[in-house]
Symmetry: C2
Subunit: 717 residues, 2 copies
């Protein structure tokens, strides 16, 4: 394996927008590891160095956890403050958010908290009048103005400093983790700009979430710390192990796990732990729980409720059309969002607050409009287990506002996603689902109350019992909608656990998620991230795609029947000039090396980039290497007199173990091999003779063709 | 691919104790699927058949879920009843367990529930005396007698009817899922006998758990329903997809996921859902929660507590020595267990009850001995948030009993595991960890109470505050110990969530699990299941083993340097007699086919079993095929006059796409290929010439050799 010795700089690196070779990166790392281990016996200093090397993985994870946890906390605090800044300001300290401002005030009853004197709306501050039409209009105007300012700042920062910072970043990260190179996508500038613009975009009130972009931010952190350790900075494969760290959810890892050892999963957990720890210390949620929406219901669910749950699943599946429309102007959308959102209380507040309220069960002390039920006057005192009650006027009012909010959210989210600012789909999709769920939940509850003699309610809902929990419907709806959009059904249920801490409700969640997946699959096989990857033409081989067509390797390999013959090098009869001509005339990424053109027996594969570098290097530094020198890939080269052109020995850049399949191999198997081993290319032979080559691009194009898609959409190799 | 046409029976099947070829099974299934799809356009009947075929996966999962859920419920009820039967009997209905018996009684206060008149201990029933030394001795004697009876029945049933029913079954199931064939291991008899003897073994009070064997029972259910559908019964690969269903935990699936499509994970969740549903309907835990030990603590944990948590991890790691001792007589162990367990209240009760009590936080109404704290007389009324209190005599008493129980459990579990009855390690390991954890927890609590001026306590524990929750320590200890034994650290944390519903305590659990893994790794790299697989010599290629040695394929392949040459067939010059001699003289599982012995160009691979069957079939049914007939693997065979021996065409059993690597391929890559593609064998070539062969057995032997283990321990292919 002497080609691993890196005899001159840059051998074994890759170009931008190319795919890495996993097997090669892996064996390079093993080699490096062996070298360090054998050296470590020589001296104490080497031993310390080898220990440091062994621990560097954990150190990197610790650093990633610390930084990304800190960033997440800072972003949360900043978003809280800036969201409230659109409405008013804290007089005691302008850097306090509404909640922090009133937290420190002396008002002690719960209702007064929201109206503490230190917190003043803009109109009150500027005109002295807190109420009245004029104040409302002024507040409304300033709200829209602030929103426009924030989104303008966000979009200009992204455009000027870091174009890669826009969008959620998840599709690109999936592609990068699978072995594609996009330089700068995880760079320092992207990290900085994405963090700042994410705060601005979320605060502007646009219908977008911060979860997806946070994953991108965390991956940038990973990349940043990679460059501190040569173990990671010099190996694209190891680098990807670190970058995968922020992908905490075990099942999302499953998707890329073919290339990573199990140890990586383990370390990722460690990083997540540190991040959670850091976040807890900063404590942006104001409580000591690590879950975003803590829910606790007192009622179990009933079999009959599965029907509406499944209906919610159908709804969730249908909303996958989200985000397929072209990009519109950020400012216009922000303006429309702000103008339309302000009058409706359910759209004015931040989306996570909205979801939190929709998930909530109506306790006895709840003051929300959604909980304006007519209480039974005979009921002596508020208890935990409140029976179903008829809805009051507040609830009916809330229903109308929710219906409007639902339409608004769906439309505006479609226009928001795909804009050139950091944006996630997680929270907006959940909000859409949660609103629909809550509406259905209230409807079922009222039906059950007014018609408990109907057959469907008879068995499980006696009068005066607490049968239906509308909050649970909201949760199920959120899960269904998220499932429809991202299509990550199983991991989704796990994420919903993590977000809500509810373990009881796995069955309704599962039912809704399965239905939503089925319905969405009927509309189109791919989730939003996969569609995005395809739109960009990235070479991403999805673990989930099953290839079941009856084609063979011989149908896919190049050269095709009428093409010119395969460009090959011979082991001992090609001159430097021949090689240079070949490199100039073709744009292949590498060339197979054969014994002779007659026998076509394959001996290895050489990368174009390595070949170019090696020849350039040899021409500069090696005496007697000229255009007519013969290139030798054999172990020995003949000794020639010094006056003759000297042979150029290139065995060290030759990959002696290229991957081969026979021409009869079913493409199903070939796809499997590419997917599981992370290959760039594979050579095709018949009874020992080299016939052709299949690259990752060929495989993806063939798959696109078989699915009646445009094969030209696959652009990179 | 005409060898898939199954021209005569049994082609493409495997022998007992052999490994299947995943790629071949997969392409056979794709072929079957394509055939059905193309037929479905012919008639409505065919369309219905194809739809049935497509849905059969879900139907099988539904049936598995129903049956395994029912069995789990029945086993739970039966174990409850028989465990109580050792102590006494219910007078109102003898088939009631203690809890069910007293549930229906009229006593309403909580304390009296345990002492309801319908439930009589044996001594009371037989002599009329409930108290006194004589009654104690009689109860003791009968307790031991019942235990001996149960375990005797269990061991004899296993020995006579189903020897495969013993042990936990997890190591064998892991091996089977990875592609090994052990006929009868998942059969009907094993299912029946394992269910019955599991109840008997658990009821006898032996220190064993039922979780592992339950997985085996569920896998047997899967196999049972497989045989109903030809899609599954005829394809060993698809069969394994169904069998993997009961392995619910996403991360345990990760380990075998290389061979299965993601759809399988999805269906497994469905099966688990149905099973959970069925179990809920039978409702053995008497509440509507699906978690085994529901815990709810009111106190957060503190940073400083991480130190004892980590110490628990160290303890957990050390107990991995469990289960390495030889098999002892079941009856003797049962006798000793029963005799020693009865006097100590913590070992007399069932292990899951014990764990449940150890996990519990001491509420104000708790009557357990473990909660006998000295209450502050100034405290007006019992509240949820009880401050730390000094321990009363009951707690000190309990501490001694727990210490004895700890020693007893460790020793007896070592002797119990490996006995020839169904037994799991899950619950016993958790019990050992929980006891140790609770002891540490109480110690820390008392230190914090008596010395809250010490530096370590100063920052987080004011006098009169509730700082330490001993139940949490028990939970952490249980996780640590389980992690040490099974070494499935990450999945473990997920399982602990599932078991306890506690989401808050992820950090202490993680800290303990990591430490326990590190300590255990220092003692030996493998978990208890992996050691077991190795002891049995099964060919299991662990996903976690990393191979980092610098050997090449040429060092591992056979023939070795001094061996006779590789046994090959030629494509058109071997006679039937030659083939028969080759089969008789060697015991290889297959033979490479080359163009000619001189050129050594590989054209395919033929399985020994297929070859034997094909020749036998041809000699019986095909005219003119005699010993001197020439075997043709080419597409055309010469037309010979009828008087001559007729050629035997065998291209249809030839695998035209055998897997090849070059002799320079690092073994690291070869191991990766075997692991990820599920190969049986791989051919080694150099510049198109066939050099040798590497089988899965060779790979495993080489890995054992590199780790300084005995390569002869790998027995099967």
């Amino acid at each position: 394996m002497d080609f691993l010795d890196e005899p001159f700089p840059d051998v074994g690196t890759y170009e931008d927008f190319h795919t890495i070779d996993w097997l090669r990166e892996k064996s390079r790392d093993t080699d490096r590891h062996r070298k360090i281990t054998s050296k470590s016996k020589e001296s104490i200093w080497e031993l310390i160095k080898s220990l440091l090397d062994a621990w560097s993985g954990w150190v990197v994870m610790l650093l990633i956890g610390l930084l990304s946890g800190t960033l997440a906390g800072v972003i949360d605090l900043a978003v809280d403050w800036m969201t409230d800044l659109k409405e008013g300001v804290c007089l005691s300290a302008f850097w306090y958010s509404h909640e922090q401002c009133c937290w420190t005030s002396n008002e002690t009853t719960f209702d007064d908290r929201d109206k503490c004197p230190q917190w003043q709306k803009w109109a009150e501050l500027m005109t002295g009048h807190a109420e009245g039409g004029g104040a409302y209009v002024l507040n409304y105007f300033l709200y829209v103005l602030w929103a426009l300012l924030f989104s303008f700042l966000a979009v200009s920062l992204v455009r000027v400093f870091a174009p890669y910072a826009c969008g959620s970043g998840i599709p690109e990260i999936k592609t990068i983790l699978s072995g594609f190179i996009i330089r700068g996508y995880l760079g320092k500038w992207t990290l900085l700009i994405k963090t700042v613009t994410l705060v601005l975009a979320v605060s502007s009130g646009l219908s977008l979430g911060k979860e997806g972009p946070l994953v991108h931010v965390a991956c940038c952190c990973g990349n940043l710390f990679c460059s501190l350790f040569s173990k990671y900075s010099k190996n694209e494969g190891k680098r990807r192990e670190v970058r995968s760290a922020p992908d905490v959810s075990p099942l999302s890892l499953l998707q890329v796990s073919y290339y990573f050892p199990l140890k990586t999963l383990w370390r990722s957990f460690f990083a997540a732990l540190v991040a959670a720890f850091t976040l807890r210390s900063i404590n942006p949620f104001g409580n000591s729980r690590l879950v975003l929406f803590y829910v606790e219901y007192h009622t179990p669910w009933y079999m009959a409720e599965l029907v509406p749950f499944i209906l919610l699943g159908v709804f969730g599946g249908k909303t996958t059309q989200l985000g397929k429309y072209p990009v519109l102007e950020v400012i216009a959308v922000t303006g429309i969002t702000a103008v339309l959102a302000y009058p409706n209380p359910y759209t004015r507040r931040s989306t996570s607050e909205l979801i939190s309220e929709l998930f909530n069960d109506c306790g006895a002390l709840e003051s929300s409009q959604l909980c304006d039920y007519i209480n039974n006057p005979n009921m002596s005192r508020p208890v935990d287990d409140i029976p179903d009650r008829p809805a009051g006027p507040g609830v009916y009012n809330a229903l109308w506002q929710l219906a409007l909010a639902l339409v608004f959210k769906i439309v505006i989210t479609i226009f928001t996603f795909g804009m050139k600012i950091p944006s996630g789909l997680f929270i907006p999709s959940m909000a859409v689902g949660a609103i629909a769920g809550r509406i259905v939940g209230i409807a079922v509850e009222q039906m059950a109350y007014h018609h408990h003699d109907w057959i469907i309610f008879k068995n499980w809902c006696r009068p005066g019992a607490d049968c239906v929990t509308p909050g649970l419907y909201a949760m199920v709806g959120a899960a269904a909608c998220l499932g429809g959009v991202t299509r990550m059904t199983v991991s989704l249920v796990v994420i919903m656990f993590e977000l809500t801490g509810g373990l009881e409700y796995i069955v309704p969640l599962m039912a809704a998620a399965v239905t939503s997946k089925w319905v969405a699959d009927a509309f189109g096989k791919e989730g939003i991230y996969e569609s995005h990857i395809q739109l960009n033409g990235y070479p991403y081989l999805d673990v989930r795609d099953e290839f079941t067509h009856r084609t063979l390797a011989t149908d896919v390999m190049r050269p095709r029947r009428n093409d010119p013959t395969l460009a090959v090098l011979t082991q001992d009869s090609t001159t430097v000039e021949d090689v240079e001509t070949l490199i100039k005339d073709t744009d292949y990424n590498g060339f197979p090396v054969v014994v002779s053109r007659e026998s076509e027996r394959l001996i290895g594969f050489v990368q174009r980039r390595d070949l170019t570098l090696a020849i350039k290097n040899a021409r500069q530094k090696q005496d007697g290497v000229v255009s007519s020198s013969v290139v030798y890939f054999t172990e020995d080269a003949p000794q020639l007199p010094a006056s003759n052109p000297q042979p150029l020995k290139l065995r060290r850049i030759l990959n002696l173990s290229p991957f081969t399949v026979t021409d009869h191999t079913p493409m199903e198997t070939v796809v499997d091999i590419f997917r599981k081993l992370g290959l760039r290319q594979c050579l095709v032979t018949r009874s020992g003779r080299l016939l052709g080559i299949i690259t990752k691009k060929d495989v993806l194009r063939h798959m696109a063709q078989m699915m009646n898609q445009d094969p030209e959409s696959i652009m990179f190799n």
